[in-house]
């Protein structure tokens, strides 16, 4: 069996699909953020992913890393705030790792997203348990790496990652926010999931459906 790879063309389709999902979930993300923060998260993601679509639709190259970096910068460039920086890094850090590659296998994608997680944790200082996107992203990356080591398929890996992200995001309901605007509400965030973590779950679900 030939080793499965994701081409630049395929990644473009995936990113466009992820963008459409995030844009369609603006209301849902806003509602989550009203409970935990300023209520501006949904609108920010809408701005960011609309820009992602614009930026990558015009991309004519075949560099997978460059494409993902473009997507990441498109988010940071328009979303602003801490969200813009970390959600942008989710794609741009992976893209920087994959620069120059026309395609990537599962192990390479897992390594690239591991870079994203490292960058996000560095930027925001969040650790698992702080009630942030890290609580969904860390389990997702671990799932990718586990399937990659076991020689599983791309589909299986991203489906497992999506499940892990969803579980991790739901677990944030029982946490008290330690970072970001939500941390100002402290105990009042108990019982509500972190919007950033739920967004990560949405992203990985969308990837798993398209890959």
């Amino acid at each position: 069996m030939a080793e499965e790879k994701v081409s630049c063309k395929k990644m473009k389709e995936i990113l466009l699909s992820v963008s459409d999902v995030m844009i369609s979930k603006e209301g849902y993300l806003t509602d989550l953020d009203r409970a935990c923060g300023d209520g501006d998260f949904g609108v920010g993601m809408l701005r960011g992913f609309t820009n992602v679509k614009q930026q990558i639709s015009n991309y004519e190259g075949d560099d997978l890393g460059e494409l993902m970096t473009k997507a990441g910068f498109a988010i940071t460039a328009t979303v602003g705030g801490a969200s813009g920086a970390v959600f942008g890094a989710l794609f741009s850090s992976a893209g920087i790792k994959l620069k120059g590659k026309k395609e990537a296998n599962l192990m390479e994608l897992a390594e690239a997203f591991r870079e994203s997680l490292d960058m996000i944790m560095k930027l925001g200082g969040a650790k698992p348990g702080d009630k942030t996107m890290v609580d969904a992203l860390a389990p997702a990356i671990e799932a990718l790496e586990a399937v990659a080591k076991a020689g599983g398929s791309l589909k299986e890996a991203f489906e497992k990652a999506a499940e892990a992200a969803q579980k991790g995001a739901e677990a944030t309901k029982e946490m008290i926010a330690k970072k970001g605007k939500a941390s100002y509400l402290g105990e009042k965030t108990l019982g509500y999931p972190d919007p950033g973590a739920m967004a990560v779950a949405l992203i990985f679900k969308a990837i798993s459906e398209k890959i």
Binding site: R34, D38, G39, D40, V43, G44, T76, A77, T78, V79, G80, G81, A82, S83, G84, A85, V86, L123, G124, G125, K179, G180, K181, S183, Y184, L185, G186
Partner: protein, 343 residues
Amino acid sequence: MARAKKLINDPLKVTVEELEGFVKAYSYVVRKVGTHAVVRKDAPVKGKVAILSGGGSGHEPLFIGYVGYGMCDGAVYGEVFAAPTPPNILEVTRAIDGGAGVLYIYGNYAGDNMNFGLAAQMAQAEGIEVETIPYWDDISSAPPERKTERRGIAGGFYVYKCAGAAAEIWGADFKEVKRIAEKARENVRSFGVALAPGTIPATGKPTFELGEDEIYFGIGAHGEKGVLLTKIKPADEVTEIIINEILKDLPLKSGDEVNVLVNGCGSTTLMELYIVTRKAVQILADMGVEVHHVDVGNFLTTQEMAGVTISILKLDDELKELCDAPAYTPIVKICPELQSKLK
């Protein structure tokens, strides 16, 4: 209590529209760069270290009001209460770069550190010397041993003033201006009290909740958790609490000299601010501390939040001279020549 009625149009366009209005009002001092930034009319000033301020909008006149002669060269806004984006920061950096370096001076918040940090890397890659100086004057946000985790609030005013004067009036180089900015930062402490929250334009939601007769000491500029919730007290008592907290963190003795900033959080009346000022100056004078200069008014607001923050800057000869130096911005006008006519 907080009111959600505001004079705005599309809540998602408040930042863009307010900047368009601002530059029309202050066209004799500033011009716009892009949609989210203003710079001094004559930027870039060749050979001068440039000062860039910035952060979330929603705290007017913070950042944009400090742009002009002798203070900030530019100010870049993010959306309401959100950090500005790297491309916007970079665009205004290029507009104010006079070839002597650019200092990013902003409040110490996660989003601002991330975005100014990213922009600084990009600017450096373009050959512009940039360093970041977050300020952290809010003593309620962390203990002294973790002061670099503290939030930046109204006391940042002194960092901008001193750095701006060093760059413009003294013609100091990059290293010097950075040293002075950091010194001003280390010598200012702020603490405040809230009486009522402001509301977020896009949602109408208050930034925190407070009972009718409650006041909350140490709450942050975005509604961050405070340190002491009590019932309303007379202004003198409130002012004593605030000054005493600051003095615990910045011990002063007889003979020391300070500048004081009494800042309104948005809807607190000038009458109230003047009453607070009266007591603040009296407490310090009773200690034998010389109050050299007081600034009172709205410098860092949070929409229609009711409350006051007090910032105290401990002076030495350098900081005193820099604070007294001329400045001309939309909200800061220091004209020693004109002032001397009143002696």
